[in-house]
Symmetry: C3
Subunit: 360 residues, 3 copies
């Protein structure tokens, strides 16, 4: 790809030689080979550019003053979106089978569209459908009565249980599990203290399903449970990282981002464009409003209003949690203040005794 | 299923037309289709019943006063257990192979009982046995010398390592791993500060196995490590959610419930009917007594006596942790109180100076 | 194995009958069968030895005074390393295929060395290589252009994505995922508050790979993401437990130990011989120095200097976090102290009024 074409694809300004070939994106410190295009859109990377062997670079405004050795500079308006666009220009799709691999096992009534790819040792169950342009890699399980839309990408080891519905342009990474049973049991120890249910927990079965809307991405090892009656629902454009657990009946609105190792317990509802930081946990039956932010590691036990940020354990309004930690950080000063009050009181009492008690 | 039969199965009172067909369980707000049986056993669902198009419903006592449109009402004594029983009546088993799928790979000396089902592309190792009534879905790995009991249900992608023993009526969900090595290493940096073991951590190998007793359920993606010498043991009726990590040598007593994303480190022993909330972590070599409750997100670093509840990070008796958070919540009031004491002292000292110091 | 040979392998002193056969390692409380060698290297196990039926035992110095029934005692210098060495003497490898199983699917140009084993239903992609002595168990996915070194052991269900490079003597446990996409998105809600990127998060694609160096061990269900440009790198001898999430661009130095359920966010760099306790979380773009210790459950949001220990949430220098918890533990005493100051002030003010205000 010519540097000129990269600039055009980004709607960016080009300074210098647009005929150079860009083969590979690199951090400025790694540049050197012919075809390396140094990406210097962060402050750190831009700083590294002066010590770089790069002959072509992408920078955000203000434009770089190109030294002699820098033969081409692409200058973008918005560094963050340009970064995403750049990676899209240079991405490579995973190696796949074309068509249906002979070792795949498809039910006789499975409906795999022409133009879909099904990899080795993948199983597609009865009455399931796979849309055109969708690629399913190797060793995937598609249960019975599953519907998968168009242009999806499903990586090895993914398990999609009976009846799950998946939209268009969905990506699901290695070993994710969609549609296992929800986790609901009546405990053996009942609320009145007696032991019931024959001494063992009694299962609440999951009769519902999971619906994954368009443009969703689901990380490796992530698990999404089916609903008790209706459907666990992952809204359009939601992005979920690795090893996330999403309980039965959960609903996530559009364009929300859920980082790695987050757990969302049953029946909790998340709004649109919510950001949930890594390792956060949400209790069951909560509501999180649109555009809320849940900090990494937060332990959320109560509703989160839209547009607010919570953090800490237990999760509180972010400013409140910061206050708590700041207060703890001043514990020595607090104790010193109290000691000083005591000393002053001692002195006053001693004075007071002298002035009133000399005759005792 | 007739509404009359549902009521009978629940040992519940029936008001109205028992001849209606119940096809599907729904939340009252979703009811509408012929055959929808509205389940209104929670306060929230009961509230929704008045705005529901349901013609048949299940409620807890006190009995609903059925409006004209409500043609049948089932009235149960105990809402929670009735809920579990209802879902059991309407559950559907996963679609499976009958018998042994021709693509399954069974060792010549594997002993799969008549009446067991083995799905496509599942591997069963040497000398392993599978009991009657057990269904193993597709792409499962059963190692060598594994014993699996009767009426188990093992979902796609489950890995059961050599020598593991599994009881009857056990359910294991997608991609769970039973019997990987425990995680024990002598660190390269020894306790005396020197670097030993050739500069790399030195592995403590796992010579033991895992025993899963009857009626256990294990969630998707959960991992249970084998013991160092003897057996990691999951007691009868224990229910484990998704993405839980259970270390080597751990023993869990009967009927305990372990929610999602819990980690239990090596050699910790959990009693009977213990409840462990989502995301909690337990250090190694601890003891948790019968009927203890560990709150979601708790970081448990010390023994937990039976019948007590712990929460927080570090986990403390629940009341103690609540005290801490309450105290933090009053930090402004505390500071104000100290400020006030200072002001009063200032005034007293000033008085005291005036009354004694006028001659200085 | 004769007890004499065990002692020799450990370079340990032998007291008693070296001709006894040692078949199995056991805890002293489990000993009884012929061939049981009781391992009593911890204080607890040593205490149990006096009530044990063992006739042979391994102990640390000081040497045990063998009772009549104890026919052989092996006395080691360093209990911890001896324990690891003992388990290595008695470990058994997993049952495997010899050579390439006929159901494995190898690309025509895959290069599997003579002396490597490839299990049933494993897929090896185009141009990938597997070194001599490496065993890949069943149902594994090796993508295209993957290089795997010598004497590795790869368990069922592991997914290794295109282009990943793995060194020698690496062990990867069930269902681990190496080389999925990193999790980077430009959120729909931009920093200026407007909604951009067409209303949906915009993906930053992962063009890089993962490099796993020699002697690394990776736990079941663990996920390691590929880098944006270059490589996520796991250094020589690093040991990673189950269900750990390692983000894109992360670099871990040599001989570090990462316990279960740890999450390390993108671009964080971990030094050599670092210990990370279970359930800890590390934010992105951090640096953790050599020989640092991160306590279990810590929520690390800032750099960790080499040789220090951090704990808590947010993670602080360990001593500082302990101070915080200790301070919280004294909240009643603190309040009592303030109450007492108030009472003393009340008394002084009352005195002061009496002595000055009688004429008012």
């Amino acid at each position: 790809m010519k540097v000129r074409d990269v600039a055009a694809a980004l709607s960016a300004e080009l300074v210098g030689n647009g005929d150079l070939e860009a083969v590979r994106l690199v951090h400025p410190s790694e540049a050197g080979a012919i075809g390396d295009l140094a990406v210097a859109l962060s402050a750190e990377a831009r700083g590294a550019l002066s010590r770089s062997a790069a002959i072509a670079a992408v920078v955000a405004k203000p434009a770089l003053d190109p030294a002699d050795s820098m033969q081409a500079v692409i200058v973008v308006d918005n560094g963050r979106t340009a970064f995403a666009e750049l990676t899209e220009l240079f991405k490579r799709d995973p190696a796949t089978t074309t068509g249906i691999h002979p070792s795949a096992i498809l039910a006789g009534d499975a409906d795999v569209a022409a133009g879909a790819n099904v990899g080795p040792l993948t199983v597609v169950g009865a009455r399931s459908s796979v849309g055109a342009g969708t690629t399913i890699l190797s060793q995937v399980t598609i249960g019975a009565d599953v519907a998968i839309g168009r242009d999806c990408l499903i990586y090895p080891g993914v398990r999609i249980a009976d009846g799950v519905r998946i939209g268009d342009r969905v990506t699901i990474h290695n070993n994710a599990s969609i549609g296992s049973d929800g986790f609901g049991f009546v405990p053996a120890r009942l609320r009145d203290g007696s032991i019931g249910t024959g001494g063992l927990p009694k299962k609440i079965h999951s009769l519902g399903t999971v619906i994954i809307e368009d443009e969703v991405e689901i990380g490796a090892g992530t698990t999404i449970d089916r609903a008790t009656f209706d459907a666990t629902r992952i809204g359009r454009g939601v992005k979920i990282d690795n090893l996330v657990q999403i309980g039965h009946n959960v609903i996530i609105g559009e364009a929300s981002i859920v980082c790695g190792m987050v757990g969302i317990a049953g029946s909790t509802r998340i709004g649109d464009r919510v950001l949930i930081g890594g390792g956060a946990g949400l209790a069951d039956h909560l509501t999180v409003g649109n555009d809320a932010v849940i900090a990494a590691g937060a332990g959320v036990g109560s509703h989160v209003p839209g547009g607010t940020m919570v953090s800490g354990m237990p999760a509180l309004k972010h400013e409140r949690w910061v206050e708590f930690i700041t207060f703890l950080g001043r514990h020595k000063a607090l104790n010193a203040k109290i000691e000083k009050l005591q000393a002053r009181l001692d002195a006053l009492e001693s004075n007071s005794k002298q002035s009133t008690g000399s005759g005792a």
